[in-house]
């Protein structure tokens, strides 16, 4: 087989185009990574392994897995991301079982974390301390206490299961864009949560 000029140009062109796409992907990577399904907390590892097959989202009995959108970056689109507004994670491991690339791993809810919960500015107790304690009542792990009428999450206990987000009554009916609005409590990956706490955005 002899290589022609045309072959050479095709090879260079295709490589340049695909590297360009990936380059834009790198540039549009958002710092605000969403919470990933169990065992996918190393974002780089997850990006390399997930083939966006949709099986984990489909099988989740709690409907707590959603899909990423292009506005969050080229890499984010179609990647599974936790949407706790629809349900919590029960660590049932069904998603782990169907993942064809081991992008997901079973985790120990007593040790490992999907992320951690933080109280946002939409929490009802900002305006009216003592008016709500749903998150404390529903947390399966007892990670939330009420201090001075306001919820406080013990981030060493919280594993990010999302039950508090799922049931938080704040801003449930006020949203235009279904899932994307922030509730009174939200779960973020640990590093994102830490940054938001440091910035004073959440507590």
């Amino acid at each position: 087989m002899s290589l022609t000029r045309r072959d050479f140009l095709a090879a260079i062109g295709a490589t340049a185009a695909l590297c360009g796409v990936a380059g834009v992907g790198v540039l549009t990577r958002s710092e605000d990574v969403p919470v990933r399904p169990p065992g996918a907390q190393d974002e780089d590892g997850f990006l390399s392994a997930c083939i966006r097959c949709d099986r984990c989202r489909s099988i989740c009995p709690e409907s707590s897995i959603g899909v990423g959108h292009i506005e969050d970056g080229i890499f984010a689109a179609r990647l599974p991301a936790m949407v706790f507004h629809d349900g919590r994670c029960t660590f049932c491991n069904l998603c782990v079982g169907v993942c064809p690339t081991e992008a997901l791993h079973s985790i120990d809810p007593g040790q490992d974390k999907l992320g951690v919960a933080v109280i946002t500015s939409n929490c009802l107790t900002w305006d009216d301390p003592g008016s709500c304690a749903v998150c404390r009542d529903v947390c399966p792990y007892g990670a939330v206490t009420i201090v001075g009428g306001m919820p406080v999450v013990d981030r060493s206990i919280c594993n990010g299961c999302g039950e508090c987000v799922h049931l938080c009554p704040a801003l449930v009916y006020r949203s235009v864009s279904g899932d994307r609005s922030m509730r009174g409590v939200e779960v973020y990956p640990e590093s994102v949560a830490q940054r938001k706490v440091d910035d004073g955005e959440v507590r």
Binding site: A11, S58, I59, I70
Partner: protein, 313 residues
Amino acid sequence: MKPSAQRMLAGAGVFVVVSLGLAFRTGLGTPASFGLGVFAAICPLAWIQEALASRSMTVPALIGITLVIAITVVLGRVWCGWLCPAQFVRRFLGGRGQAAKDQADKPTLDISMDPEEVQADVQRIVAGERKRVRRASIPEGSDSRYWVLLAVVISTFIFGVPVFCLICPIGLSVGLLIDLWRLIQYNEVTWTILVFPAIIVLEFVIFRRWCHTICPIGILYGLISRLNRTWRPQVDYRKCLRATGIDCKECVKSCPEGIDLHHPLDSADISVCTKCRECVAVCPGSAVSIPFLAKEFTPSSSDLSSHQDQPRR
């Protein structure tokens, strides 16, 4: 039912299965990975990319690729002919004239013969003498899809992300269905719903012959299909009009892949056959069939590599 209608039905089935996975918790998946539990076929390109990007090989993925290879060895490149959503994109963009346009775009095989030549040619074929008749006017250079495949390998390895998945028209069309579903079910509004179709249209408008010049998945299936010996189309020369001296080329013209069943060594290799059945449907003498095991074997260049009488390209 025309073969094209049958294939559309099969292709629609893919979207039905994905929709089932949206309506119920089937976990069956999408073309990227499809099956039950760990017994799921994996897109061969996704498998390569995932292994390169994560620099690892996992057991479920190995099971998946084994399944895909096994299916492709038996069925050939059926994914491309029957299931791939590209058929809908091409139809949507091309409108009614798509078949004629495909015809005009295809590299032609201008082997014309006079009646005696045709009959002598048939006698040679029936006697089992397959040799190169004339070089077809296939464009110079090798199949550009291999270069795209190489580019996918390089970019995926460098960036550590399955790069082709980001622009894969198959993945994007399934992703679009998922996003439309979630728009209705959860009122989830996203630009993705506009961006994905735009990317797909752009790809097929810029590269009108996307499947034949770009798609690395198609050529991967073609590579695996070199092991395929079953369900190869064959010509029965007791019925073929060429045996009577008529220079009939209906099956050749109908083949979207550019295979000439009479002169398979001069045309695109039989391993790229998608079993689309166009040649079967079009033959005026009903001479073409696709049996499980062909009696009159339509050879591929790899079958005959032992006695090559002409230099290979």
